[in-house]
Structures are given as structure tokens and as C-alpha cells.
């Protein structure tokens, strides 16, 4: 049901992107005319408009039926609506947590907000992609915005180094993606994901397999999965913490959508082939991420390796190539984004003028300096480690359950084993916070409002952990079998 004429009714499903485009223009204009007088106006406006936008999406664009627009380039379906809602909220939250930090570090330029918003636009385009070209458009819009954000702090050598690494490796991954897409197109004659699914089968030619392999390279790179993970630790540690927070959160939703659209939908005809490759990537990510994280002394770098391990878990959901695996992966991604927002948000809120406070050493005896933040951080760590009553436990449980369902018992055993290894370095953070005698550090300048929002963020992890059926029911409705 491809519509060829452009009418107002036919473009309303794309309202989130249209709204976002308008917001970007508005923020740009406000920045030009108002930045001198009110330097944080752009950020405040962005946060408010994103909040409004998420309300809009919630009431308008959580469409029940699948609608295809723009000659099949764009799809609006329930999962897209939900992912966009989550992305809007995640970006709003990320910008909100960053305010004080950016004020201190002089990262106030309105370009920052605009870049964050264009990245979000990229995420939305990717989420709604129904065509290889749209996928590529979304990926590039997102990636280019992120490269610029990482390099935003011009005078920082670390940031520049991180940005260059990210850019060069990202460019190679984009190249690989394009190359893979060109092979898929050349052999099937279509760019449309729906048609691709019927054209490409498991028994397909070696050319298709090679094309698919290149696509998987791009998937692994965007997720930051082994062996394409090199950029993750350097970018997480080198970029300003506010940018790390941004990169670690909403773009993971895009990575999920990217994988889901390309592999689960586009290459639905050859699940055996890509599931095996993803399986290898997932196992390597879980092993390397969890083991190397143990050796880190920098909290941000440790969380980077933790990300790699978590991505391994998300990919395990895809390895099952089954609806319940995708549901579990979606659930895990959402939980992961919520937790990461909290963890990096906490680091942002406790950082001070002189110090990023991102060394583990800085957190010695943190509980005596700031009991509330200490407990919140501990809860975040326990959740990421997968200990009940926090939602991180259920996220892992559903991934493991989908593996057992798919008779991948060995993978399930491996997953639980590495999560025990992983528990160690999360516990180490708690150990530093609670068990060590305090060290002298200045107190963070974050205001009461930001701390309250972080408190709610963590409370959500707890509430979803005690009443876990809410999120699961949602995921099941969004990705029915």
C-alpha cells in the first residue's frame, strides 16, 4: 500500500520528524538572536520542546497499524512510535542532566543543542527506515552529528583524539555498510526492505552472504560490538562526559532499530546466516567487555567496556531470530538506555569544576560525602549487574529465556557465566563508594531538581523491577510474533 500522492493526511505519521525539524530551526534561530543574553535558553527550550514532542508522540504517533509512506521509503509502525518516544525522552533527559556540566566546561554554544537534535532526527529516520537508502541516510545523519559532538570541546586534546578515531573508524564502517548494501541491491535488484526479505533466502548465493557480512560489520560497529569496538572506550573516556552520556543512551535505540530493520526485517529470509555471525559477535563482546572492564581504573572507561558487554546481551536476543528474542532485545535496550542515563547522569551531577570525578579512586567513601547520590549509584550498579529487585535482572532473564526457548542452552549458560564475571566490576564501584574511608573531594554543584530527576530515574529502575510485566507486555505488543 504505497501511496504516491503527497497529501497532508499521508504525511502525518511522519509528524515526529517534521516536528523535530521545526524545533531544530527554532533552536538555531533562538541561538542566533538570544544566545548573548540567555546562554542556556537553547538547552532549556530543547528540553521543553522534546518533552512536548514526546507527549505529542505518545498521543498521536503510537500508531497501531503499520503505515508505509513516501514511496516505501518510510514506515510508521508501533515499534517505531515507541522507540521514537523513548529516544525523545532519552535525549531530553541527557540534555537536562548536562546543563550544569556544560555551563562549567563552557560547552554552552547553541550548536551543541542543535547537533543533539539533528542526531535525534537521524535516530528517528533510522527507526522508521523501510529502505536501504533511508537506513543509510539515518545512519549518516546520526553519525556525523555525533562526530561533531565528540569534537565539540575544541581545545581538548583528548576530545579531538576521540573524535578523529571515531570519525575514521565510523567512516570505514559506513563504507562497509554501503558496500554491503550495494551487493544486496545488485543481487536482488531492490532497495526496499520488504522486497529484499522475499528476494534473499538462506540458500541464497555467496554474493548475498558477503553483502550481508558487510552489513553486519556496520551493525557491530554502530553497537560497538567486538571486534568493531575499538572506538568505544576512547570515545567514552575522551569526549566530555555530557557527550558520553548522549552517545551511550539514545543512539543505542537507533542501533536496535538499525539491526531490527536490516536483519530481522530486511534479511528475514536468511536468519540462519546472520544469526550465526551475530552469535560470534555477541559471545566475543560478552567475553571481552566483561573481562577487560575488570582492569579499568577510570569509571567512564569501565562503563564503556560494560557497554560492550551489554551490547553482547542485546545481540544475543537477535541470535535467536525469533519474536521473543526481539522482544527481549528491545526490552534490554530500553532498560540499558534508562540505566546508562542514570549512571552517566550521576557522574555528571557529582563532577566538579576542577575534576570530572571519573576515576574510581574519586569515589572512595563517597557515601559519607553524598549519601543520596551514593545510594543511587549503588542501585544503578546493582541493576546493571542484574541483581533483583532492579529491572536489569529481568532484562537479562528475558534474554536468557529466549535463548533457552530457542534451544541455545550453551549460549544461555555462557551468558549467565559472564554476567557473574561482570558483577565483579560493578561491585567494585559499590565497594569504593561504601567500604573505603572517604577522600577529600569537592561536592558537585548539581541542583536539587537535577538530583530529584536522577532519583526518579533510579526509582523507575526499581519500580520496573518489582512490577516487571509492564515493560514486557509493551514489548510483546510492539513486536508481535
Amino acid at each position: 500500500m504505497v501511496e504516491s500522492t503527497l497529501s497532508l493526511a499521508s504525511i502525518t505519521p511522519a509528524l515526529p520528524e517534521i516536528y523535530l525539524g521545526a524545533v531544530i530551526c527554532l533552536v538555531l534561530l533562538v541561538d542566533v538572536f538570544g544566545a548573548a543574553k540567555f546562554p542556556s535558553l537553547g538547552t532549556t527550550l530543547s528540553v521543553l520542546l522534546l518533552g512536548l514532542g514526546s507527549v505529542l508522540i505518545a498521543f498521536h504517533s503510537l500508531v497501531p497499524a503499520r503505515t508505509v509512506l513516501f514511496d516505501g521509503l518510510y514506515v510508521a509502525d508501533p515499534v517505531a512510535g515507541f522507540l521514537k518516544l523513548a529516544a525523545f525522552l532519552a535525549v531530553a533527559l541527557a540534555l537536562y542532566y548536562s546543563q550544569a556540566y556544560r555551563r562549567r566546561r563552557g560547552l554552552r554554544g547553541g550548536e551543541y543543542d542543535v547537533l543533539a537534535l539533528t542526531a535525534l532526527l537521524g535516530i528517528c529516520v533510522l527507526i522508521s527506515a523501510n529502505n536501504l537508502l533511508t537506513v543509510y541516510l539515518g545512519v549518516e545523519l546520526l553519525s556525523l552529528s555525533l562526530y561533531a559532538l565528540v569534537a565539540f570541546e575544541r581545545d581538548s586534546g583528548d576530545a579531538a583524539e576521540a573524535a578523529i578515531k571515531y570519525f575514521v573508524l565510523g567512516a570505514i564502517a559506513s563504507g562497509a555498510l554501503l558496500y554491503g548494501m550495494s551487493m544486496l541491491y545488485g543481487l536482488t535488484g531492490t532497495l526496499d526492505l520488504g522486497k529484499l526479505a522475499t528476494a534473499a533466502h538462506d540458500q541464497a548465493s555467496a554474493g548475498l552472504l558477503i553483502g550481508m557480512a558487510f552489513v553486519i560489520v556496520a551493525v557491530a560497529f554502530k553497537f560497538g560490538a567486538v571486534p568493531f569496538h575499538m572506538w568505544v572506550p576512547d570515545v567514552y573516556q575522551g569526549a566530555p562526559t555530557s557527550v558520553t552520556l548522549f552517545i551511550a543512551s539514545a543512539p543505542k535505540l537507533a542501533s536496535f532499530a538499525f539491526t531490527y530493520r536490516l536483519l530481522s526485517q530486511g534479511l528475514a529470509g536468511m536468519p540462519q546466516a546472520w544469526a550465526q555471525m551475530l552469535g560470534v559477535v555477541a559471545v566475543l563482546s560478552l567475553a571481552l567487555g566483561n573481562v577487560v572492564a575488570i582492569a579499568q581504573t577510570n569509571l567512564r572507561r569501565m562503563l564503556a567496556y560494560s557497554t560492550i558487554a551489554n551490547v553482547g546481551f542485546i545481540l544475543l536476543g537477535f541470535v535467536t531470530a525469533s519474536p521473543d528474542g526481539y522482544q527481549a532485545a528491545l526490552n534490554y535496550t530500553v532498560v540499558y538506555v534508562l540505566t546508562t542515563l542514570g549512571s552517566f547522569g550521576a557522574i555528571l551531577l557529582v563532577s566538579t569544576k576542577g575534576s570530572e570525578l571519573d576515576q574510581l579512586e574519586d569515589y572512595k567513601g563517597f557515601v559519607t560525602r553524598d549519601p543520596l547520590m551514593a545510594v543511587l549509584l549503588a542501585a544503578l550498579m546493582f541493576s546493571t549487574a542484574g541483581v533483583p529487585p532492579f529491572v536489569g535482572f529481568w532484562a537479562k532473564l528475558w534474554i536468557i529465556q529466549s535463548l533457552v526457548n530457542a534451544h541455545l542452552l550453551w549460549l544461555a549458560g555462557f551468558a549467565v557465566l559472564v554476567s557473574v564475571i561482570g558483577a565483579y566490576y560493578y561491585l567494585r564501584v559499590i565497594w569504593f563508594i561504601f567500604f573505603e574511608p572517604p577522600v577529600e573531594r569537592a561536592r558537585g554543584e548539581a541542583g536539587g531538581a537535577e538530583r530529584a530527576v536522577l532519583g526518579l530515574n533510579v526509582l523507575a529502575l526499581f519500580a520496573l523491577g518489582v512490577v516487571p510485566n509492564v515493560l514486557l507486555a509493551l514489548c510483546q505488543r510492539l513486536l508481535p510474533g
Binding site: V367, P371, F382, V387, P388, P389, F393, L397, I400, Q401, V404, N405, L409, A412, G413, V416, L417, S419, V420, A423, Y424, L427, R428, I430, W431, F434, F435, P468, N469, L472, A473, Q476
Partner: protein, 504 residues
């Protein structure tokens, strides 16, 4: 009455959160709130006992609400004759722990009391859960407060000890989770009852048996996965040691009875020699290890492992009794013995750790060599210490006797050699415990520090007095306890001896 179990779980947790929120600005209020909450939980658990119908093996005080309908998992609670005594033990032992920490804990006291209250709720949850996912939820969540208790208020090597404790138990538990998910896939819901009714081939049962065993053996702990326990006990604050020994170890025993025996009965029958062997090694080898200890807490920790060996031995004796005599007569004694041993060890080991805590608070050392002749300066304390020590050796008239006697009695039916090996505990237990008493309590006053000791405060007297009464009561009149669990034990015996192999 309907929501009694829920109240017993959530009241302490709510009290704990409130205590934590009060914080250290008002430690007095926090203490009193903690004490009142634990007392309220104790009082509320009494109707659980009085209204319990011991003639029925079915779960009672049942509550069931949908929890995760997508997974067919429900918030289902209930007790039978096996879980009820353990819940009573939990609510009973938490009170002395709170009182024992009353004025001793100076570092962040509100958080200390809060942790114990939250622990109490979660432990009751473990024993009351009728749904395996709910069970696992409580089982894992409990690691958090214990991790903090050992890590924050522990001794010098507390970080090492608490990480070892956490990772050991975590590693053990995760494979149980995989086993539970596997069984869910076959049965369609997560309730304990449907897992018990689920037919499984012998190969499946073996895998599940080992997954369970890993989780429960670490918790009990059984030789050779016991090494976390001495470390955790030595470094934990007194209250932490008490809860650890009195209740957390019982979760392992409970798990073996409730999960391993009933869900994988054929594998249990096939592999009972493994459990029996490990149990006997725990009794004999760990008994010898205990003799060699120079640290009082470590000695009691090893003694705990040896005593828990009786629990695991009693739980798995039925199969060899059947093999040896052709009937299950006597098997009930073994199960009764295992259960009574759990309750009795909970009280005695708790009391022993409290006694050591009393000494440690005064002398700040647990080294046996630093003591001697304590009875001269602390006669009342000495009397308590001797009483609990004798109970620990299994003196008739104390609770320690009943459980061990029943298990040894049953093991005679299984094999003379089992009985002989198990019987060595009478010698070894006496050796390590009485030698401890001799070195610490009796003899001439060893040094000036001992000479300066002051006898029990009223607070300490109250705590030890209550425990002493409990030890004697169970020892002299165990009938109510045995009656309480009689139907459930018979039912358990039926379940563990039936076969679950699918009919071909």
C-alpha cells in the same frame, strides 16, 4: 489473616526503608524503630504458628496474585510444615540481632539496622514463595543487604570477604536460573507445584540436579564449595555472622528439600551417594579443620559447616535406607532430623556468634590465645557460653542433640559405615568445642585485659537468656516442632521417592 505472609515480608522492608530514611541524624529513633519493627514481625508470626493446621501438608496462608502474566508467574505465597519453622526462626533471630547491635554499632547505625530489617523481609520471602521466579527474586535480592553488611561493618579483610561471598553465591545461583527457565519451557508456568509435577527424563533431571546443587551447595555450604563461609563469618560484624549462620545457610538446606528432592527425585536417587559422601566429608574433615583454628569465629564457622553436613546427610538418607532395608521406615527420622538440625543450629550458632561478639566488644580480638579464665571475671557469661557450647556438641537435653541423634539413628538403617562416620561428630564436635571452652573460659586469668572484663550488661543477658531458653526448650520438648512438620515431611518423603520419569 489473608495477607499475613505479605505483611511479614513487606513490614520489615518498609520498616527498614523508613529506618534508613531517618538516617544517622537521629540514631536513637532509628534504633527504636528497627527494634519495634522486628518485634512486630515476631508478634505477627505467632498467629502463623497458632493458626497452622499441622494435619495438612498443603500450603497454608496462601496468597496468589498475578505478577508477570506473560510468563505465567505469580506473586504466590504460602507455608507448609517445612517452611513455617524456618520463617519463625527468621523472625525470632532478627530481634536479638537488632538488640545485639544496639550500642555497639557506631558507624552509620541507621543503615546497619535498615539492612537487617530488609534482609528479614527478603528471607521470609524466600521461605514463603510458592513461585520459583519469586523465590529467585528474593534469593538474589538478599545478596545486596548482606554484601553491604559485611563490606561496611566488617573487619579488616571485609572487602575480600564480601566480594567472595557475593560472587560465590551469585555464581551458584545463576545456573539454577537457567534450570528454572528450562523447566518453565516444559511446564508452562513458574509455580513450584507444577515443577514438582513435571515429568522429566533422567538426563534432564541430572542436569537440573547439578544446576540446583551448585546453588544450594554453595549456600549450605557443602564441602568443597564452603571456602567463602569462614572468610565471610570472620569479617562480618556479629549481627551479620548470626544471620548468615542462623538463616542464610538454611536457605541452602531448604532449597535441597524443596527443589532438588521433589523436582528431580530420580536424579536424587541416582546421585544420593554424592551428597552423602560430601556430607560425611563435611562432618569429619571439616570437624578436624575446626580443631586447628585459632580464631574463635572461624572455629564456629567450620563447626557450622560440619553441622550443616548433618542436614544434607539427613535429607538424602532415604534412598540408601530403601536400598539397604527395602523399605522407607526410618527415612522420616532422617528428614525430621535434618529439619530439627536446621532450626537448632540456627539458634545455637546464632548464640555462639553472639557470645563471641560479647567478648569481641570488650577485648577487640577473636584470637583464642588472647583469652583464658574468662569465667573468673564473667561468671554469668561463662555459664551461657558453656551451655551453648554443650548444645553445640550435641548434649542430650539441648536442641543440638535431637537433630544429630535422629540423623545418626536413621543412618544406622542405611549403613553401619554411614552411622560410624556420622557418629564421629560426637567426638570431633566435643573436641573442638570443649577445647575452645577450656582455652577461653576456664583456667587461670590469662592477662590483665581478661582481668579487667566486666560481666554481661542487662541487654546482653536478655539476648543470651532468650536463646538459652529456646535451646533448652527444643532439646527437652521437641514434640511440638516435630508435630508441626510431620505431615509435610511425610508428603516430602512421598514426593522424593516417587518417580518422575515420563512414561514411555
Amino acid at each position: 489473616m489473608q495477607a499475613l505472609l505479605s505483611i511479614l515480608i513487606w513490614l520489615p522492608i518498609a520498616g527498614g526503608v523508613l529506618t534508613w530514611l531517618i538516617g544517622d541524624r537521629n540514631p536513637r529513633l532509628a534504633r527504636w524503630l528497627a527494634l519495634l519493627t522486628s518485634l512486630a514481625a515476631l508478634v505477627l508470626s505467632i498467629p502463623l504458628y497458632t493458626h497452622f493446621d499441622s494435619g495438612s501438608a498443603a500450603a497454608q496462608f496462601v496468597e496468589s496474585h498475578p505478577w508477570i502474566p506473560q510468563l505465567h508467574s505469580s506473586y504466590a505465597l504460602g507455608v507448609d510444615g517445612i517452611s513455617l519453622p524456618l520463617i519463625l526462626l527468621t523472625t525470632f533471630m532478627t530481634v536479638p540481632v537488632i538488640i545485639a547491635g544496639w550500642s555497639v554499632i557506631e558507624k552509620r547505625p541507621a543503615q546497619y539496622f535498615a539492612s537487617f530489617l530488609i534482609m528479614e523481609g527478603l528471607m521470609v520471602g524466600v521461605f514463603a514463595a510458592l513461585d520459583t521466579l519469586l523465590f529467585y527474586f528474593f534469593w538474589e535480592a538478599m545478596l545486596i543487604p548482606m554484601f553491604l553488611i559485611i563490606g561496611v561493618w566488617g573487619g579488616k579483610r571485609r572487602v575480600y570477604a564480601t566480594l567472595k561471598f557475593f560472587l560465590y553465591t551469585f555464581l551458584g545461583s545463576v545456573f539454577m536460573l537457567v534450570a528454572l527457565i528450562y523447566m518453565y519451557n516444559k511446564s508452562g508456568d513458574y509455580s513450584i507445584a507444577s515443577f514438582q509435577a513435571l515429568p522429566l527424563t533422567l538426563t534432564e533431571q541430572r542436569w537440573i540436579f547439578f544446576a540446583f546443587l551448585l546453588a544450594f551447595a554453595v549456600k549450605v555450604p557443602m564441602w568443597p564449595v564452603h571456602t567463602w563461609l569462614p572468610d565471610a563469618h570472620v569479617e562480618a560484624p556479629t549481627g551479620g555472622s548470626v544471620i548468615l549462620a542462623a538463616i542464610m545457610l538454611k536457605m541452602g538446606g531448604y532449597g535441597l528439600l524443596r527443589f532438588s528432592l521433589t523436582m528431580t527425585p530420580d536424579a536424587s536417587r541416582e546421585l544420593d551417594w554424592l551428597i552423602v559422601t560430601l556430607s560425611l566429608i563435611a562432618v569429619i574433615y571439616i570437624g578436624f579443620v575446626a580443631i586447628a583454628q585459632t580464631d574463635m569465629k572461624k572455629l564456629i564457622a567450620y563447626s557450622s559447616i560440619a553441622h550443616m553436613g548433618f542436614v544434607t546427610l539427613g535429607a538424602f538418607l532415604a534412598y540408601s535406607i530403601m536400598r539397604h532395608t527395602g523399605a522407607y521406615t526410618g527415612a522420616v527420622n532422617a528428614l525430621d532430623g535434618a529439619m530439627i538440625q536446621m532450626i537448632s543450629h540456627g539458634v545455637i550458632s546464632g548464640a555462639m556468634f553472639l557470645c563471641i561478639g560479647v567478648l569481641y566488644d570488650r577485648m577487640h580480638t577473636r584470637d583464642i590465645a588472647a583469652y583464658g579464665g574468662v569465667i573468673n571475671t564473667m561468671p554469668i557469661f561463662g555459664a551461657f557460653f558453656v551451655l551453648f557450647s554443650l548444645a553445640n556438641t550435641g548434649l542430650p537435653g539441648t536442641s543440638g542433640f535431637v537433630g544429630e541423634f535422629l540423623v545418626i539413628l536413621a543412618s544406622f538403617k542405611a549403613s553401619f559405615w554411614y552411622a560410624l562416620a556420622a557418629g564421629t561428630t560426637l567426638v570431633l564436635g566435643a573436641a573442638y568445642t570443649l577445647w575452645l571452652v577450656k582455652r577461653v573460659i576456664f583456667g587461670p586469668v590469662a592477662n590483665d585485659h581478661v582481668a579487667a572484663l566486666k560481666d554481661l550488661e542487662p541487654r546482653e543477658f536478655l539476648v543470651l537468656g532468650v536463646l538459652a531458653v529456646a535451646v533448652l526448650l527444643i532439646g527437652l520438648y521437641p514434640a511440638p516442632l516435630v508435630n508441626l512438620m510431620e505431615s509435610s515431611v511425610h508428603h516430602l518423603l512421598q514426593q522424593m521417592t516417587a518417580t518422575k520419569l515420563p512414561v514411555a
